[in-house]
């Protein structure tokens, strides 16, 4: 990988001059956390230096310098990704946006908000609600940065009704790899004005440019919401109910599913026993959670009735109503804990974030469970039943790491092939990073994959921005640490 240069003392000095001593770390001063995201199984790569940027101008200066010296730059938000997207696999520097965490301005007339990319999703969501409006995208990881959400086009629970992050990005400021600053998009709702570079940036995982400011669409916040919990005998029956729920014309905000063993783990681990395990005398094996929104109780009532009927026909043991703030808090606290609980209870972990057509969720899960049994790893899964986006965790507590990786590779190869056969997508919201490149290529085909690579080169001729990610292949790579 002779292509890139290592960070020399003089470049380090210049970087330090740009961001200042307090926000520049090199060598042993770099925290080990910068070597990985939440999926360390894909390898740890420590950057040569970390810059905590605070302004667009600083980032522009950094890019000019690094582009000139051919030093790789990998942008990082909160590091909560799951595909190694923010990990500097070819070395160089990590440019962190964690300090760019200010909500700059609300424009209530045009219902939008301008923010820096390092604002945390939970902070934006809460702040918007306090302003009487809602930022609908709602990925499970609330401590991710919004910049990271845009870069992965994160979806989340409310996507069924409101769409994904992409649908809420109106405009952005981008620093190109050569340091040039451009503004994409406008605070308007329609455009038919040439290729949408804005949308190309969304979901590009920091490989085309660096987002330094965002204008996001907001909506008036719904007055009332209610979540209904439908316990089922097993996951297949639960998932089989989803199409009829979607057809019932309820416009749900989210349709989530959870399997019993994840619920049990979560209850055991957090002491939160809000999910009933026995319902009307019967052991529940899986749950569907449907959230409905409306302006008032009267508007919600007929929808709840209809859902109750659908649920009964579909074999739900009951329809449970999560109406009070206390119950909502408990249920969503349990739901939010799933990933953390799985992480905490498994020594080794790998994951898939596939999307399959809703009618293929159950057969896909059955297939993955069978394959996992063959490989001797266990599966924990939960996800967005409403849009077929599944979070499937392959775990082991007793295998050696190398053996685990070998077996999971087989499992993944088979599962992604199945996903493609089912006309699914490799990733719903966690993106590709460097972990899922092979499966992206197999899924989209060589031609499409090559076009992506060409687009990358147009933006980033020196290939310094987040190299080795999405569609960018290089021989070799930095030494994993």
């Amino acid at each position: 990988m002779a292509k890139y240069n290592r960070l020399t003392p003089d470049v380090a000095d210049r970087l330090q001059a740009i961001v200042g001593k307090q926000r520049f770390f090199a060598g042993s001063a770099v925290k080990p956390d910068y070597a990985h995201d939440e999926m360390p199984i894909y390898g740890r790569y420590l950057p040569e230096a970390v810059c905590l940027a605070e302004t667009t101008e600083e980032i522009s200066e950094i890019m000019k310098l690094c582009n000139d010296r051919k030093i790789p730059v990998t942008v990082r938000g909160a590091g909560t990704g799951l595909v190694g997207g923010c990990v500097p696999v070819h070395g160089g520097i990590v440019l962190s946006t964690e300090r760019m965490n200010r909500i700059l301005e609300y424009d209530m007339r045009n219902l939008c908000v301008r923010i820096q990319p390092g604002v945390l999703l939970c902070d934006l969501a809460a702040d918007a609600l306090a302003h009487g409006v809602m930022y609908p995208p709602d990925p499970g990881e609330k401590t991710a940065t919004v910049g990271g959400n845009v870069s992965t086009n994160a979806g989340g629970m409310k996507a069924v009704k409101y769409g994904v992050t992409r649908d809420y990005v109106m405009a952005m400021t981008v620093v190109l790899p050569n340091g040039e600053i451009i503004k994409l998009g406008k605070s308007v709702c329609k455009t038919s004005s040439g290729y949408s570079l804005l949308h190309l940036m969304v979901g590009s995982e920091g490989t085309l440019g660096i987002i330094t400011e965002l204008t996001l669409k907001l909506i008036p916040k719904p007055e009332k919401d209610v979540t209904l919990m439908l316990p089922f005998h097993d996951i297949a029956t639960a998932i089989a109910a989803v199409p009829s729920i979607k057809l019932a014309n309820l416009d749900p905000q989210s349709i989530e599913f959870a399997e019993r063993d994840v619920i049990d783990s979560s209850a055991e681990f957090t002491g939160n026993h809000i999910f009933p395990t026995v319902v009307n005398g019967k052991e529940a094996g899986a749950y569907i959670l449907v959230t409905l929104v409306g302006n008032n109780e009267q508007e919600l009532l007929p929808k709840m009735d209809r859902l109750g009927e659908v649920a009964e026909k579909a074999g739900a043991y009951d329809t449970l109503v999560i109406w009070t703030d206390t119950l909502k808090k408990d249920v969503w606290a349990a739901r939010s804990a799933f990933l953390t609980v799985i992480e905490a209870q498994s020594k080794l972990l790998d994951e898939m974030d596939v999307v399959v057509p809703v009618d293929k969720i159950a057969p896909f899960l059955v297939y993955v469970h069978e394959e996992a049994d063959k490989q001797g790893v266990y599966i924990k899964s939960f996800g967005h039943a409403g849009d077929g986006n599944l979070h499937i965790y392959c775990c082991s507590n007793d295998l050696e790491e190398e053996e685990f990786k070998r077996r999971v590779k087989k499992l993944m190869d088979a599962s992604y092939a199945k996903c493609t056969e089912f006309e699914g997508q490799v990733s719903g919201e966690h993106a590709i990073g460097h972990a899922k490149k092979q499966y992206l290529r197999e899924s989209v085909g060589d031609t499409a994959y090559a076009i992506m690579g060409q687009i990358k080169t147009v933006f980033d001729p020196n290939e310094i921005l987040n190299p080795g990610k999405v569609c960018h292949d290089l021989e070799g790579g930095a030494e994993a640490c």
């Binding site: 809000i274 449970l320 999560i322 109406w323 206390t326």
Partner: protein, 264 residues
């Protein structure tokens, strides 16, 4: 058939109450009113007992009209009847006056075998209601119940396990008994659609100071409350401690351990 009463309270979610830095007064606006969390555990215990032995659960609360919402929550979770004691004259009641109003109304509702209430409220947090209600109902008091072992209706006895400071006591008590429970085994349930819907339109039995017979005006509300709150004030805040600012969390921690030398 057991006749069970569950006494509940609607409280502001005090964790969300803020103080106006200018005036030092409480900002209650926008703070949701919720069913007192420990009352939800008490209600669950009441409903579980009813489901096991048969009977009827009545929930009762004293509070403003909006406390109706807390009662509907109880109905949804399995109570059969809800009673709201609401009157301006009941305002500013301490535990003595509140327990008096509750017993006076409860007499109209029949005789209760078991009375459940939360261990303490989120806002007042005196934890005195159980003891004083037991007195008003002339009932045995069983606080901190972990397990309801048995209710023997014919012998008029209840057996429970209680959690004490240093162990677990198995106690038998005569009915009527007033019970407070630990959270451990009584997780509030999520109501089903049928019960929830019924709860939204169920009739709530209402009493005010005129409709509770023979209510002594001297024993209710402010006049009936021997304890008074002559003043409140914001907590005194001392000087700030020494805040470490070494430039990075790592250095802060190193410095901290240096400062704690000899203690750690």
């Amino acid at each position: 058939m057991l006749n069970i009463l569950c006494c509940v309270k609607q409280v502001p979610d005090v964790n969300l109450v803020k103080i106006d830095p200018e005036t030092g007064s409480l900002i209650r606006q926008g703070v949701p009113a919720i069913l007192n969390p420990l009352d939800a555990n008490a209600l669950e215990a009441a409903v579980m007992t009813k489901e096991r032995y048969g009977g009827k659960v009545t929930c009762i609360t004293m509070g403003p009209d909006m406390a109706e919402e807390a009662l509907r929550e109880c109905l949804a979770a399995g109570a059969e009847q809800a009673v709201l004691l609401s009157d301006r004259a009941f305002a500013n009641a301490d535990t003595l006056a509140t327990s008096y109003v509750i017993i006076s109304a409860a007499k109209e509702l029949g005789k209760f075998d078991l009375i459940f209430c939360g261990k303490e409220s989120l806002d007042g947090a005196t934890g005195q209601m159980a003891s004083q209600l037991a007195e008003r109902f002339d009932a045995s008091l069983l606080s901190g119940v972990l397990t309801l072992c048995e209710v023997d209706e014919s012998k008029k006895l209840v057996t429970v396990e209680r959690e004490l400071e240093n162990g677990i006591e198995k106690t038998e008590a005569r009915l009527p008994a007033l019970i407070t429970v630990e959270k451990t085994n009584f997780h509030p349930r999520i109501p089903n659609l049928k019960n929830w819907k019924a709860s939204r339109t169920a009739e709530i039995l209402r009493f005010n100071s005129k409709t509770i017979p023979d209510l002594d005006p001297a024993q209710i509300g402010d006049p009936g409350s021997p304890t008074k709150v002559p003043r409140t004030y914001p907590p005194e805040v001392g000087e700030s401690g020494f805040i470490l600012q070494e430039g990075s969390p790592e250095k802060d921690v190193d410095k901290l351990f240096a400062l704690l030398e000899g203690i750690v």
